[in-house]
Each structure stands twice: as C-alpha cells, then as structure tokens.
C-alpha cells in the first residue's frame, strides 16, 4: 500500500500576478503562516504549514507573482532563485503548485512551460474556474492533464471549492515529473547554454550539477540589473550572453515564440471558446470607471470619501488611544512617588509610544483601503488613469497611490510603493512621497496660521486658502523633486509601463484584514522600538541637567527647559536659525519636532509655559498658545511671530524631514541608511534654504 507523501515535503506556489495565488495560500495554510522578509530585499516572504488529505504536515512557500522566470524585477528574481535553489535562506522546493487564472489560460501557461522544464513534479491549479465558465470557456481538464502529464485541479480558491481535490493531489507519493511542452531547447541554444554553464560553474556562480536552464535564466536580457548576482559573475554572464547573441541572433525572441506555439497547439485540443464573446461584467464596470467623465468622478469621490474617513471618522479611535495613554499616565502619577523615573515613564516612554500609536487608526485604514483596491482590481485602473500625469515627472501611474496615501501618513505611503516593479521608480517614489502634507503637519500649520493672522482680521476663507496653499506646496515639491531625481539623480530610460488590468472580483476580506494587520504590525514593531528609544533620549535631553531648586519650590518648567541639554542645543544652533528668523526657543521646538512634527506644538507650549488645564480641549490649548506666541517679543521689543517668521517656519515644515517613523520605514524599504539619510538631508536642506530665502526676502522688502 502506498504510504502517501513524506512529511515536511516543501511545496512552492507559483503563478502570474492576479491569479489568486495568495487566496489559495491562505485557504491551504489558514493561520499557520509566517510572514517575513527575504534578507536584503523588501519582498514579503510567506511560508506556512498545511496538511495533506491524510494529515501529513507539508511546508508551503508562497512565491511572488510573476509572468516569467526571466526576472525583470527583484520580486521575480526571488522566484527564479528559490525555484533554482540559489538562495541559502530558503530550501529549494521539492514540488510546485502552478496556479493560473482559468479565464486567461494561454498567457498563464507561458510561465508553466518554463516551470515544467525544471524537472520537479508540478500540480496545475485552474483557479477562478467559475468566472471562466460563466464567460463561456470550456476547458477539457482530463485532456489538459494528459497533454502535460500533470494533475490538473479546477478550483474556486476564494470559496475553497476544489480544495479537497488539490490536497489529494498534494498527498500523492508518486507525483511524476511533468512532460515539457517543448521537446527540448533548440539544439544550438542548448549547446551554448551547456558551454556557459561550464564557465559559470568554474567561477562558482552555479553548481557543477546545475541544469543548463540556470544559465538560461541568469543571462536573460530582461534582467538589466541582475538582481542577486555579484559583479564577478556578471562579466561571465554578459560574455555568455554576447556570445549566444552572436551565434544565434534573436534566440530569446524565438524561444518565446516557440513556447507560445506549443501552448497554442495544446489549446486547440483543450480549450473551447464561445463563438461570440459577450460583454463581461468587467467590460461594463470599466465602461464606467475608465470613462472620461464618470471615471474621474468615481476616483475623486472615492478619494474624498477615504480622506473624509481619515481626517474625521478616525478621530474617535485616535482620541480613544490618546485618552487611554493619558489615563495610564494619570494612574502612574497617582501610584508612584514623584521622581525622575516617574517622569521617564510618563513623559518619555508613554508619550513616545502614544505619539506613534496615535497614527495607527489612520495607518490601518489606509492599508485596508489599499488592500481593498488591490484585491478588487481597481488599483490597476487608478494607475491607468493617472499614468499620463505621473509620466510627466518621470514616474508611472503606480506611483500615484503612494504619494496620495502620504497625505495621511508617509509610513503606509512609503510601504505601498512596494507594488511598483521598477526599482528606480520605486526609489524615487519613496524619496518624494514624504513631501506630501501628512496629517502630523496639520496641527503645526494650524498653529502657525493662527499666530500669523489675527482672528477676525481676515475672512476665514483666507486661512483656508493658506492651508490649501500649504498642501499644494507639498504636492508641487513632491512632483518637482520626482522630476529632478528622474532626470538628474537617477537618469536612465524610464521603464516601459506594462500594466495588466485584472478582471474585477469581490474582495476577500479575510486576506485584506490579514495583510493590513501584518503590515501595520511591522510598523508598530520597527518604528515603535526606534521611536521609543529616541523619545527617551529626547526626554532626557529636555530634562538634564536639572536646574538647582530649593526644596518645596515648584520648578519653573520653562527655565528648566532652557537649562537642559535641549535648551542648550537650542542656544547652540541659534546662529544657524537666525538667518531664517528663528530664536533659540523656536530652535528647541524644531529640535524636538525631529521626532515627529506634531511634537512642535507641545514643545512650544512647554517653552512658553502654556500649561494644560483641566477640561482643555485641543482648540482652547492652541488658542492660548497662539495668544502667547503673539505676545512674544524680541529683546528690542518687536514681536517675534511676525508674518515673515510664520511663513519662514511654514516653508521649513513643508519640506523638512522631521519624522523618525518615516526615516525608519525608508531605511527598511530601501534596505539602506544611505537613501534614508539622503532623504533627511535633501528635504531638511531644502526646507532650511527656502526658509532662509523667505525670511531674507521679507527683511529686504522691509516686511
């Protein structure tokens, strides 16, 4: 009797983007999955356990969606390297589950023709078979299975239909290696590949036993950056490629044609199309959502609704988080004796952690919407609508959403840039997205506008206009720098846009929620630890050294701050700040705002001794701070907060990078401190120079 599959067998899930691979992965593994990152690249690495139909534990790796083993992006290089067993951190899969969208068999089979040549047993899953059938497609499953020599399982992964059949196939001990569609590689190509394999093996790039297919995918011309291949090996690979190109011109294009010829020959037997194609649901929805009038209205309406949620509905949980931490700090104050340790807990740890968590509702909501747009298929339509605009500044339509999301918070904005395949476009998007006016800038803008224009002196519309101007400045700055970077810093041909518009489908909420949570958790863990550490540091800087006080005397907070490290730092940097019109007190506020922008407001209240009173809401606190700012005088008796200074500070806040969470996330997403620090330098540098220019110009004009 057959004993079935051996325990611990490693299966890889492979398929085109939008084939429902992740839905299947979730259906197979349930909660038994681990989401992490491939070291060195920010590509989600998903592994999980699942059980065969007979209860044997199997390992499952969900590989990034890809159109071809000829890698063209870091994601696709991961797929190639894992399937070829080239990554030391991931076991080489022993079997492959090739998932395809049944409505789109021809194109999906292209990757399959490459995968079957690897010699591993393959199970073919025809996902979303219901959609294909309702479109009138008939697929002869037994014939497909016979033709390729692989088990074929029709499925609807989102409804777990066909899951048992798939598990039964996975349980088989005797899964045969599949029959390749091409009889063999063309003889001259094969000869050339064998020779390049020898050269590569001699250099240690591939193992001596590697199949000739390994050089085939390594020397692919689609992979101009050669991800994961070191420079020494690159020369050998490029030589091999040049030689092959000389011997057999156009070999790569011819191989693609040969694969599609084989697929078409098989399709003649297997696939029966309806005589006349009727308009599908996707056609009808696109007729509306990509319409030159309704399309824009739909996009605008959806974004307006999203931003309404982000700026108003989310206030309830945000206030709840704030209240919880305030309550906690109150408890600590009542339980513990006064002292430095208590202050460390309340003013350092708690205020630091709450400063990060306060943005969590917004971040979760954004991730949810991004997931919803990706899952339904609308995201690709947004890129389609916006591509023309974004191409003006050297980016493509996929950069639109990250920059837009950054208006709420740059953290999810930067993270959502992952969906951009081109590494160059992705980097530029990450570099410019934090220029968008995020919600942490809002309280600072409100304070500065209030300090600048006396209430009642100008119509409220004027203030709204200023706010609009600040938002516009952020967008213009992001686009301007995108243009500058794409034409100067990272010149090179913009990668062509090839965008698939997947059929619309009902969103799988459990997958969306799971992804939302795992991304948010990454933010909490990474940014949270960094932020907490730095908040403690900032607390210490604004506390020590202490002002000597006599017993029983209430220390003057403002004087204590002036005496502390932060206060001294403010004095120390005053010469640098003077050209932009700021004094040392503003310097302290600016220094503290590098943890997070909104901290500026609370630091200014400490510096000017505007204490919070019971029953104060934010508006009255801000109002008293505003009045205090207006009273502030320079030593010569002139007011400090002139319109010129307010404008200078606003300009600084538009550009400067003052957010530890963003720096931490950019460091993570670009996998280098280099770009995170470059961003800090160019943003803050621009902010400073323009603020100085504004102040000096105002001075020159005698304002």
């Amino acid at each position: 009797m057959s004993t079935g599959v051996s325990p611990g067998m490693v299966y890889a899930l492979v398929g085109n983007p939008n084939c429902g691979k992740t839905t299947l992965f979730n259906a197979l593994t349930g909660l038994r999955q681990k989401v992490g990152n491939y070291p060195g690249v920010t590509i989600e690495r998903k592994e999980g356990d699942c059980f065969s139909q007979h209860g044997v534990r199997l390992k499952l790796i969900d590989l990034p969606g890809s159109y071809s083993l000829n890698a063209r992006s870091p994601d696709e290089a991961i797929l190639r390297d894992v399937l070829l067993g080239r990554r030391s951190d991931t076991p080489r899969p022993q079997r492959i589950i090739c998932v395809m969208d049944a409505s789109n068999l021809e194109r999906n089979l292209y990757l399959f023709t490459q995968v079957v040549e690897l010699g591993l047993p393959v199970i073919l899953v025809l996902n979303m078979i219901d959609v294909a059938e309702s479109g009138g497609l008939r697929i002869d499953v037994p014939k497909l299975s016979e033709r390729f020599g692989v088990p074929v399982v029709p499925m609807v992964a989102s409804r777990k239909q066909g899951l048992v059949e798939l598990k039964l196939a996975m349980s088989r001990a005797d899964l045969p290696p599949p029959r390749a569609l091409l009889d063999a590689l063309p003889v001259p190509v094969r000869g050339a590949l064998v020779r390049s394999r020898e050269a590569l093996a001699a250099a240690g790039v591939v193992s001596a036993t590697a199949s000739p297919l390994e050089p085939l995918y390594l020397i692919s011309g689609n992979d101009p950056t050669h991800y994961g291949i070191d420079a020494a090996a690159l020369a050998i690979i490029q030589n091999a490629r040049a030689q092959l190109e000389r011997e057999i011109p156009g070999w790569e294009d011819r191989m693609v044609s040969a694969r599609y010829d084989a697929i078409m020959a098989a399709m003649d037997e297997v696939l029966h199309r309806p005589a006349t194609a009727s308009a599908t649901l996707t056609d009808r929805i696109d007729g509306l959502l990509l319409h030159r009038v309704w399309g824009w209205l739909a996009l605008g309406g959806m974004l307006a609704f999203l931003f309404y949620l982000i700026f108003s509905a989310v206030e309830i949980p945000m206030n709840a988080i704030e209240d919880t931490f305030r309550w906690l700090s109150g408890k600590i104050i009542s339980w513990m004796a006064p002292g430095d340790f208590r202050d460390l807990l309340t003013d350092g740890v708690i205020s630091g952690v709450s400063g990060v968590l306060i943005f969590l509702p917004q971040i979760l909501l954004l991730f949810f919407f991004i997931g919803l747009m990706e899952d339904t298929g609308y995201m690709a339509r947004v890129a389609f609508l916006m591509d023309r605009v974004m191409s003006r500044v050297g980016l493509n339509g996929k950069s639109f959403l990250p920059i837009l999301s950054s208006h709420a918070c740059a953290v999810p904005g930067v993270m959502s840039a992952r969906s951009i395949e081109s590494p160059r476009d992705r980097l530029i998007t990450i570099l410019v997205a934090p220029l968008a006016a995020c919600s942490a800038r809002l309280p600072v803008y409100l304070l500065l506008i209030a300090a600048m224009v006396p209430t009642g002196a100008v119509p409220p519309l004027f203030k709204a206009g200023m706010m609009l101007g600040l938002y516009a400045a952020g967008i213009l700055a992001a686009f301007g720098f995108a243009w500058l970077f794409s034409s100067r810093l990272l010149p090179g041909k913009p990668s062509p846009l090839i965008l698939e518009l997947p059929g619309y489908k009902m969103p799988a909420f459990s997958s969306i929620l799971r992804q939302m949570w795992s991304r948010a958790w990454m933010f909490i863990r990474r940014a949270g630890t960094v932020i907490m550490g730095l908040s403690i540091l900032l607390w210490a800087a604004s506390t020590y050294p202490k002002l000597p006080t006599s017993a029983g005397q209430e220390p003057d907070k403002s004087a204590a701050l002036a005496h502390s490290m932060a206060g001294r730092l403010g004095h120390f940097i005053e010469p640098v700040l003077r050209p932009m019109g700021a004094d040392w007190k503003i310097g302290v506020g600016l220094v503290s705002s590098f943890a997070a922008r909104e901290v500026f407001v609370s630091s200014m209240s400490v510096i000017y001794s505007v204490e919070e009173q019971d029953g104060d809401d934010d508006d009255t606190l801000r109002g008293r701070l505003r009045d205090r700012l207006r009273e502030e005088k320079r030593p010569d008796g002139s007011p400090v907060y002139t319109p010129a200074l307010c404008v200078s500070l606003m300009i600084f806040f538009v550009f400067a990078m003052q957010c530890l969470s963003t720096i931490a996330v950019v460091r993570r997403e670009t996998n280098s401190w280099k770009w995170a620090l470059f961003q800090l330098a160019f943003m803050t540098g621009t902010g400073y120079l323009l603020a100085v220019a504004a102040w000096q110009a105002a001075h020159f004009l005698g304002l």
């Binding site: 292209y110 011309g221 990509l290 399309g295 824009w296 690709a380 389609f384 591509d387 062509p496 965008l499």
Partner: protein, 79 residues
Amino acid sequence: MGKTCQLSEMEAGTSAVIRSLPEGLPSLARLREMGLLPGTRLTFVRRAPLGDPLEFMVRGALLSLRGTEASLITVEVQP
C-alpha cells in the same frame, strides 16, 4: 489583406493581428512573454482619458501599454 498601421494608431473597438515587432528590444521582451507575438490577434479597447496609455484585449487578458511602445508594433487591421 487588411490595412497595416502601428498599434498606437488603431481605432477603439477594432481588432488587428500583429504583423511585426522589432527584435532584440528589451522594452518589448516582456510584452512578447505576455503573448504579444507576430500573428497574435488583439482588440484595442480604449485610450486612457488623458490620451495615454492604451488598453488592449490580448489572449483573454486586458493589457495596457504606452503609445511609445505601441508605436513600435505593426499590425494589420481586421475587418
């Protein structure tokens, strides 16, 4: 024999068969892999509201590319 033109010059709603794609261009290599080959039939679905990119139905999938790439591909319009 239908009239030949560039892929970028088709009218919305019409179908065509690809006659030629220049060989050896990296920007077209991925399009080939996604099934745009000489002899492939496709339908021009629509232009984006701002004029670019263009949307085609190829082998049962909706694919969008920019005019720059589409102008490299010669097609024969089908009646």
